[in-house]
């Protein structure tokens, strides 16, 4: 605990300062959003589990399978998260020089850093588990002792990925120098993408959704009974929890969890003792010397000549930094995987199987798809545009002491983020509408709206990034998970809701006319609604950009 004292004392002081500087609003917002999220997870799971409970014979099996699958997805998230967190806490953290040079036992450093890694990488999963276990407890009448059983099985479940993740990082750092994280994170990102695909294969969710696809009930039950793997801790937690809830407490899974966690800790400490010193030494060397992007830089430099020296150099600098920073560009790999899943899901919609689906259903899906596409774009903007201002923090001395107009800085940041986002937005909207065989009207509405939304989403991301800057964060990937990132996502969801509600009126008119085979007349209501959407999106673009500019002007370093 003593080793971690500076960390938690810093956290406490920061919380106290937040409170003193009127941060109560922030805490209340976070609490409300958190509670709403908990309530939503609990509500959905409660309904599902109640339905399962009433299914005779296989109800408990279904509930157990659901828990097992949820925990399995937790394992993969935790493993990945621990690998990434361990890299910074064990090898790149600022307190390491002091710790390593102090007469502190290796095992103590290991345990302290493991605890730090576990806390940073697992808190979200732990919070997520609360409404899940609560729903199981309520539906299956867990009783007063259930929290003990749940916590008793979940704690070692969290320890295992932390030990494995940090051990994996330890080995990787011994192979690749930590500061050359390009190789390391490429591996991690690819492993994550592969993990997602693998998980999909293991789960085979489509089979569970269609029991009629099985030859007989026996096959279906066999699949339900079969554990994802009897060696996975997620299965042990499921057995312990479901056994207790079913009235037949099985102690073996608990023994397995605790003994494996204990053994993993001992092995992890041993491995740390063997490899940490060489890994830490390697982490100090190996800054990257290979420079990429020379040819592209020159070509783009010529293309951007008309913008003038300041803006051109600024844009080129931003692009170079992005593609040379592994923590930033590696996110593109995951993004690609997610987009594939997105388009795949649209393709997999049961709209064109068998009988003719009414065209209005396709149109409604195409219209609502706008909201989903907008949300995907918001998540991408949170990853890539929201951190833009924060990333300039340490170099702001240079920008502020130079005669660069802050308007030009903002302009460059805005378009560097918006143009790729716009290309992506158009690609997914057109592609999904083509897959859905949407009508030209719906295609036009979709394309027009997504252009306006993208311009607004980029501006909101930049503005909230300037309002809630994270100048001290060294890892760009951590910036979107801040409070400002949450507020940005909330604001964007609100914008999407407003736009969809306004546009639903003319879209309804169009569908009504088409279904009744009447000619479509352009009414003042339709024109007014589209004009209102334009006004809302333009306002959501211009006002945030102005606020961002004013905020950047006020920054002091």
């Amino acid at each position: 605990m003593h080793v971690l004292q500076p960390k938690w004392r810093t956290a406490l002081t920061r919380a106290r300062q937040e409170r003193a500087s009127g941060g109560t609003g922030k805490a209340v917002t976070l609490a409300i959003v958190g509670l709403l999220f908990w309530a939503a997870v609990f509500g959905v799971l409660f309904r599902v589990l109640r339905y399962f409970r009433d299914v005779r014979e296989i109800g408990a099996l279904l509930a157990g399978k659901l828990l097992s699958l949820t925990l399995l997805s937790f394992v993969s998230v935790l493993l990945l998260s621990n690998v990434i967190t361990a890299l910074s806490s064990f090898f790149l953290a600022k307190d390491l020089d002091l710790l390593v040079s102090s007469p502190v036992d290796q095992a103590r450093i290991y345990l302290a850093k493991l605890g730090e890694t576990l806390l940073h990488s697992s808190w979200m999963v732990a919070l997520m588990a609360v409404p899940i276990f609560t729903a199981y407890a309520v539906v299956y009448h867990g009783g007063l002792l259930f929290p003990l059983v749940a916590a008793g099985s979940f704690l070692p479940f969290l320890v295992l990925p932390a030990v494995l993740g940090s051990a994996a990082t330890l080995i990787l750092v011994n192979v690749f120098p930590a500061r050359r994280t390009r190789d390391l994170l490429s591996i991690i990102a690819l492993a994550a993408a592969a993990g997602v695909i693998l998980l999909f294969r293991i789960i085979r969710p489509e089979q569970l959704a269609r029991p009629e696809g099985f030859r007989n009930l026996l096959d279906f039950i066999t699949v339900l009974r079969a554990p994802a793997s009897p060696l996975l801790p997620s299965d042990w937690v499921t057995k312990a929890v479901m056994g207790y809830l079913g009235g037949k407490m099985d102690w073996l899974p608990l023994y397995l969890l605790w003994s494996t966690a204990g053994a993993a800790l001992v092995l992890g400490a041993w491995l740390h003792g063997r490899l940490y010193h060489t890994g830490f030494t390697r982490a100090q060397e190996g800054a990257e010397r290979f420079v990429r992007g020379g040819v592209w830089g020159r070509a783009l430099g010529n293309l951007l000549k008309p913008l003038g020296a300041a803006r051109r150099e600024f844009i080129l600098k931003d692009l170079k930094l992005f593609f040379r920073d592994t923590t930033q560009w590696s996110q593109l790999i995951l993004l690609g995987a997610l987009l594939l899943v997105y388009v795949f899901n649209i393709r997999a919609l049961p709209l064109f199987r068998g009988e003719q689906v009414p065209f209005y259903l396709v149109s409604v899906v195409s219209f609502l798809n706008l909201g989903l596409a907008g949300f995907v774009l918001a998540s991408i903007a949170a990853r890539f545009i929201f951190p833009a201002v924060s990333l300039e923090g340490r170099q702001m001395w240079l920008l502020r002491s130079s005669p660069l107009e802050l308007r030009a800085l903002l302009w460059s940041k805005y378009w560097v983020g918006t143009i790729p986002l716009l290309v992506l937005a158009l690609a997914i909207t057109i592609l999904t509408n083509v897959i859905l065989k949407a009508t030209p009207f719906m295609m036009a509405v979709g394309v027009g709206t997504i252009i306006l939304l993208t311009l607004a989403i980029s501006a909101l991301a930049l503005a909230f990034g300037a309002l809630y800057p994270q100048f001290e964060t060294e890892n760009a990937a951590q910036i979107p998970t801040s409070f400002g990132g949450l507020v940005f996502m909330m604001a964007t969801v609100a914008l999407l809701a407003v736009v969809i509600v306004i546009e639903s009126a003319p879209v309804y008119r169009y569908l009504h006319a088409a279904v009744n085979q009447e000619p479509l007349t352009i009414s003042p209501l339709m024109v007014g609604a589209f004009l209102l959407v334009i006004a809302v999106c333009v306002t959501a673009t211009v006002v945030p950009l102005r606020i961002a500019l004013r905020r950047i002007e006020q920054f002091e370093f």
């Binding site: 600024f314 170099q395 001395w397 240079l398 370093f557």
Partner: protein
């Protein structure tokens, strides 16, 4: 060339700079001295336009840094005490980028980049990422970046930190040469020997206030100190008691 008029900076209830008025004439190498936390860096950052004064104003070549920032900053080269630069740019790219901020590009800039990297012995590292530079190399790169657009004024905060003796000597020669060609340098430093040997005029700040300013001879007259060196003068003006107490504590610890 640099004029500070009644300059004040508050951080909440703490006053870091307290009604400072100072004139740095064109062609002068002006030393800005003071103990830790006296307000040196805050003053220099206000001159560079990084911090906004609470009251008062800064004029560079007659242009107000807040009211006419572009004109004022175009004359200025600022060298901060901590060399934060873009880690993922090469040294040459960084210099090109800075030149771009001042609206300069093309062959002239390329020649200037080569020239400066040659002077500071960074040519071999020209196309290496800054993340592989040592602290001293980064400091040299930042000094080069402050010179890339041929400024009229250089404002520099602790220039010698991290520099090897060769580079420190080079920088001293460079500043003297710059001043002899009509340039102006305002330099904060803790190395009093350098200030004494290099500066035409010196200002000493303590508790956010200028406690003395002028040539060495004027400072001696102001403090009625006779023929003493800058170090004794500095300790007399800023209170040397702390140093004596520290020595006593160290003695006790034995």
């Amino acid at each position: 060339m640099i004029r500070l008029e009644d300059l004040t900076k508050d951080y909440g209830s703490f006053r870091a700079v307290d009604h400072v008025t100072l004139h740095v004439p064109r062609g002068a190498l002006y030393g800005f001295l003071g103990p830790n936390g006296a307000g040196k860096t805050t003053t220099l950052r206000m001159i560079a336009g990084i911090l906004r004064p609470t009251t008062g104003r800064v004029l560079i070549g007659g242009d107000d840094v807040i009211a006419q920032p572009l004109a004022a900053k175009a004359r200025l080269g600022f060298i901060p005490d901590r060399p934060f630069v873009y880690e993922k740019l090469t040294g040459a790219e960084f210099l090109r980028f800075v030149a771009g901020l001042y609206g300069q590009d093309g062959q002239l800039v390329e020649r200037r980049v080569d020239e400066l990297m040659e002077i500071f012995e960074l040519s071999a590292w020209k196309n290496e990422l800054v993340e592989s530079y040592s602290h001293g190399m980064r400091q040299k790169l930042i000094i080069s970046s402050a010179l890339i657009h041929r400024p009229e004024v250089i404002v520099v905060d602790e220039p010698m930190v991290g520099l090897d003796p060769r580079a420190a000597r080079l920088l001293k020669d460079l500043f003297r040469g710059f001043v002899s060609r009509g340039g102006t340098v305002l330099m904060s430093t803790h190395t009093l020997e350098i200030a004494e040997a290099l500066c035409d005029r010196i200002a000493i700040i303590q508790g956010g206030k200028i406690v003395a300013a002028g040539t060495m001879a004027e400072l001696r007259t102001q403090t009625a100190s006779g023929d003493i060196g800058l170090e004794d003068l500095f300790l007399r003006l800023t209170g040397g008691a702390a140093a004596k107490e520290l020595a006593a504590v160290l003695e006790d610890g034995r």
